[in-house]
């Protein structure tokens, strides 16, 4: 079994392992709410729109995590709130407004990165590198994980009511808009934390794939968040191993593991898997046919 432990004799691999567990679990847990609220596309838009904020932060205060976090947060919230504002004050609908803003922000970000004071490569932002994770990144991830998990666990009941039936939740005095805004902020935080590991383009996978997988396997919302967290963390660690031995970048390796699990659940999930449904015996049908004959 030494092949499991062998990669972790290196300091950078041990750091990467810790980052995988933290980021994988937090994203997977939060993903349940993203999937149930159908926020996957909004989350995608948020991840892209972080680019100009990151570039601006890199230009003004250099490449430190605090600056990047603020820059990303600012840009993402700008697009989320801006999208909401445009959708509520014109005839353009939500998804169009958000798409219009985020793609504009993404283009702006690519242009701005050219002017960053420190020479940063676009690749680094787009694809991340979990092997180059620094202590300060780990601390950021840790703080974000604690904040996210504590808020979600504490607000589980009102969140569930708001996601299931916003109108009924409102009659019970739940501030649905506020909870959704919190959810958006948590998504942005989770993306900032996974940025260093898998980059802007792949961060959506860590967020959406674990919960989507459990959604195909279970009828329990609690299983979606806790199970999503567990799948997220273990897949991230498995992806890290694969990237070490197969010598492929860690981000794509992690997302591919999650993607394979998702497809497997889609095909072979015991209750909702399409292959499982096909293979099920058609006893009722046959019985009723017999009765007819």
């Amino acid at each position: 079994m030494s092949w499991i432990t062998e990669p972790f004799q290196y300091e950078f691999m041990r750091r990467a392992l810790l980052a995988c567990v933290l980021i994988g679990f937090t994203n997977g847990f939060l993903g349940a709410y993203v999937v149930l609220r159908r926020l996957a596309l909004v989350a995608d838009a948020l991840s892209h729109s972080m680019l100009p904020g990151l570039a601006l932060a890199a230009m003004l205060i250099g490449l430190n995590p605090g600056g990047l976090l603020l820059g990303g947060l600012f840009a993402a919230v700008f697009v989320a709130l801006g999208g909401h504002l445009i959708a509520s004050s014109s005839r353009v609908k939500d998804e169009t407004a958000v798409a219009a803003l985020y793609i504009f922000a993404f283009a702006l970000g690519i242009a701005l990165i050219k002017y960053a004071r420190v020479k940063v490569s676009l690749d680094h932002f787009l694809f991340g590198n979990i092997l180059g994770i620094a202590d300060s990144d780990l601390l950021t991830s840790y703080l974000i994980s604690v904040t996210t998990l504590l808020s979600l666990v504490a607000l589980q009941r009102p969140l569930l009511l708001a996601l299931f039936e916003a109108s009924v939740a409102r009659t019970q005095g739940i501030r649905v808009g506020l909870l959704l805004a919190l959810l958006i902020v948590l998504i942005v935080l989770a993306m900032v934390s996974s940025l260093q590991a898998v980059g802007v383009l792949l961060s959506l996978g860590l967020l959406v794939l674990p919960a989507a997988t459990i959604y195909l396997l279970s009828d329990s919302y609690a299983a979606m968040s806790w199970g999503g967290g567990i799948i997220g963390a273990t897949s991230a660690v498995a992806g890290l191993q694969i990237s070490f031995w197969a010598n492929i970048p860690s981000g794509p390796a992690i997302i591919m593991v999650l993607g394979i699990l998702f497809l497997a659940a889609y095909l072979f999930g015991p209750k909702y898997g399409i292959a499982s449904r096909r293979l099920r015996k058609r006893h009722l049908h046959e019985e009723s046919l017999k009765r007819w004959k």
Binding site: L36, R157, P158, L160, F164, D219, S220, Y221
Partner: protein, 242 residues
């Protein structure tokens, strides 16, 4: 509970155009009130305003002398199309949701909550289906699952928006029995409905609405040809010049 829902001079508007005008009516607990009227008469608007989902333009609504700010007293069951049936939740989970508003964010689920949830499943005759995901129920069972949640919430006033829509005869009968059980245990039910033919069997009181109050009272006195003609033949006053 012996209660009285007093609606005084209630006007509800969409973008300043009133949909329900100056409604004055008093409803008593332990009755099942059918809310009738043509499409666009303001039935859903009235239910939503009572539930606190729409702002009230004029007037006030009080239950036993109190403004119904205590949201727990009142429960709104939306039309079936408004629900995400793929949501990963079982019938029992749905009924347990009703307890959230009683327990708040922190209080743990106790033996009494458990008992109320079980009772709710019995009232709705869903004990056998408690562990089913809500999509794996028939239309009538789905409606009753929402009644179970309302019961678990210990609500006194039930607002049901077209619950009989799309139910076949057997499902309608089972649902009618369920709401009559609620009425007999002292709850007030306000049910919007569009089928005049079976209204007399379902409701003990009828409220006919057409933008404004057309008639209200015990079914046999209110569900008359004269009242129905009045409600369905007049144009709805929308506040706009025609």
């Amino acid at each position: 509970m012996n209660g009285r829902l007093v609606i005084e001079d209630l006007t509800v508007s969409y973008h300043r155009i009133p949909a329900v005008h100056h409604l004055d009516v008093q409803l008593a607990s332990g009755s099942c009130v059918g809310l009738l009227g043509p499409n666009g008469a303001g039935k859903t608007t009235l239910l939503k305003a009572l539930a606190g989902l729409l702002p009230i333009e004029t007037g006030r609504v009080r239950f036993n002398g109190r403004v119904i700010a205590d949201a727990r007293l009142i429960t709104y069951v939306p039309q079936r199309e408004a629900v995400d049936w793929d949501f990963p939740i079982t019938v029992r989970g749905l009924a347990e949701m009703g307890r959230y508003s009683v327990l708040g964010i922190w209080k743990p689920f106790g033996a009494r909550d458990e008992a109320i949830v079980n009772q709710a499943l019995q009232v709705a005759e869903l004990d056998a289906f408690a562990n089913r995901q809500i999509k794996a129920l028939s239309g009538g069972q789905q409606q009753r699952a929402f009644l179970a949640r309302a019961w678990a919430q210990e609500a006194e006033i039930y607002l049901l928006d077209e619950p009989f829509g799309g139910l076949d005869k057997n499902a309608s009968t089972a649902f009618a029995e369920a709401i009559h059980r609620l009425r007999d245990s002292g709850k007030l039910l306000i049910v919007s409905h569009h089928n005049l033919a079976d209204a007399a069997e379902l409701f003990d009181h009828i409220l006919i609405l057409n933008g404004e109050l057309v008639a209200f009272g015990p079914t046999e006195q209110t569900l008359t040809k004269g009242n129905i003609d009045r409600a369905y033949s007049t144009k709805i006053f929308s506040g706009r010049k025609q």
